[in-house]
């Protein structure tokens, strides 16, 4: 028994799983499934700083990763689930592009991210070049979810996925000095999700619907 997975293999596996969750999110028709996928993606993202570390991770890095994992993989999905429960069960409108077309665009986005990463050249920290295509593809997935979905909670999912992509890009920066900054950014995002959750609750109460088409009266 000599084949023990190295951290590099672990990182590649995590990055591969993240891209799979991206595509699954683009094709997901049910919101409960989307929340579960976002939670899984959050857990994977929490593991990335440890897996990306070259050597034995110290206690600091493990603690930071644990905090990020709890926020991304547990607290934020719980906030989403809470918001989802407050909404009446309704048939979700089909996205503007259709689920299959969205997943296809996700694959094109991934290819585009690989191409852009290649064009930008190798960064001083090669880890950035490694996570860059997946991070950009996740950002693209988030943007795609926001513009293609016709329901506000699904748009919030898109925002969270977008933030997950950004977190992945920033993961190689996990250093002791920048911890407080990363944490404040994460808390900011948590508050943003909380505030958007409240807004969705109000939208449902005022419009008796959370369809984007129903909240489009402000035009020129």
């Amino acid at each position: 028994m000599t084949s023990i997975l190295s951290t590099a293999d672990g990182l590649n596996a995590a990055l591969g799983l993240i891209i799979i969750t991206d595509l699954a999110l683009l094709g997901a028709e049910r919101q409960r499934l989307s929340i579960r996928l976002i939670a899984n993606q959050g857990v994977l993202l929490g593991l990335v700083p440890v897996l990306a570390y070259n050597g034995t991770p110290d206690m600091y890095l493990i603690a930071v990763s644990a905090i990020f994992l709890i926020i991304k993989g547990v607290i934020l999905p719980l906030l989403l689930r809470r918001t989802h429960r407050q909404l009446p069960s309704q048939q979700l409108p089909k996205p503007y592009l259709g689920y299959s077309a969205c997943a296809l665009l996700g694959i094109i986005g991934f290819a585009l991210s690989l191409w852009i990463g290649g064009r930008l050249g190798i960064a001083a920290n090669p880890l950035f070049s490694q996570v860059f295509p997946i991070g950009m593809a996740t950002i693209f997935t988030g943007l795609l979810l926001i513009v293609s979905r016709k329901e506000v909670l699904s748009q919030l999912f898109g925002y969270l996925v977008l933030e997950n992509g950004i977190f992945l890009l920033g993961a190689p920066m996990a250093e002791q000095e920048s911890f407080w900054l990363e944490l404040s950014i994460l808390l900011d995002i948590m508050v943003a999700v909380f505030v958007m959750g409240i807004a969705i609750h109000h939208i449902n109460r005022a419009f008796h619907s959370t369809y984007v088409d129903h909240i489009a009266s402000l035009k020129d």
């Binding site: 939208i203 909240i215 020129d220």
Partner: protein
Amino acid sequence: MILALLCLPFAAALASWFIPAHGPRRVLLALTAGVEMLLAFACWMVEPTPFFGGAFYLDAMGRLVLTLTTILFFAASLYGIVYLKGEDSGVRKDFVQGLHFSNAPEATFTACLLLFLSTAVLVAVTRHLGILWVGIESTTLVSAPLIYFHRHRRSLEATWKYLMICSVGIALALVGNILLDISMQSDAGHGASMILDAMLERAENVHHGWFKAAFVFLLIGYGTKMGIAPMHTWLPDAHSEAPSVVSALLSGALLNCAFLGIYRACEISAAAGLGDFSGQLLMAFGFFSMVTAALFIVGQGDFKRMLAYSSVEHMGILILALGAGFEAARGGIMHMAGHSLVKAALFLLAGNILARYHTKSSHDVIGMRRTMPFTAFLWMAGILAICGSPPFSIFMSELSVLQGLLRHGIFPAMAYLLLLGVIFAGMLTPVLRMCAGKAPHGIALDRKEAAVSVLPSACLFGLALALGLYMPEWLDTVLTAAAAATGM
């Protein structure tokens, strides 16, 4: 001093949540705004000590943004006291859709106003790009409940669009920050410091490919928050549906915070020797914003949306100036001051008109000179000022931008003048109609207006006028220093 500037409004915001009575809470709001403004003035006389390793330090641009923010907030808080007194706390009928609505609790509104001041001050006093991002994102979160003060469907729709579009925009700016860090790394193990001074030192060795990508993300990200076209779609909705006192702060203070983000990116770009790259991008987005604003201002029937599109135009002018070289950049920074003062005053006046006429349609508002003569006079003066008429400061700054553009050839200058002309005509036509004519039936001919409803606007116009007539040496020095930092 910087710590006091940050902590005072934050502490006041927490306190205002727990003060049950409206009177003391309103006094606290005005008092905090006044003290904060005096502290900002003191920063011009006493150099505040930098702290947190230079992350908090007031440079020329930060000082200017800080001073403008506190002046506007003081004017808005005085206006806000009367505004809040006049707001019925019960259920009311929405005059547009005819549905019933109530207001958000006043304590929440006041606390969010003070938190907005705190976060805007944070943006102005930091030279750390990460903290700057946190500050700008926080302004979005604390200003969203302000837009949704009147709890009706339209304000809720505007709040959702504002939250979603600006949060996505700011998220893209965060990508820009990360790419900036990547572009500055010289070895694998260490991230670059995000403090501006350290970044400027390392800028010469920046990786050009990664930096260009970073600049694009920063421009699109902060540009979204600034209302640059085509990312401006949240701005007309939020500005028109928010209470006028909030619209004044959004347009006068919030947009400057986002502009500061782009300005910081330009500082690094110039130090990296990539001023031409960023300059071209800025000029392209600037012109596109002016064209978009011109298209929507001409024939615009909603006077608050007209002011909002005027903000899109002026934000376009700001980044156009930033990209067009030193002379134009100096004019652009002066323009930022003039626009903030005049636009905030105009939004406060728009609140007076709305309160009297119960409509935002410029076709239905007529005879203002008979029904509300002070507001009518200031409204007309303000529109002339915002359109760049002499002797207001905006005329001087637009002239400087024009001089700067002439260095790029006759065509950009001509296009700039043409767009200014179209917008001038587009704004003046409905405003003349609003002021002239007989008062419509059903509008009280009571010519009395509360002094505090017009005085803050009059003072802000007075400042814009004074800046147009006389430029103090100390302010001239600061404007030159701020423009020189962009090194274009």
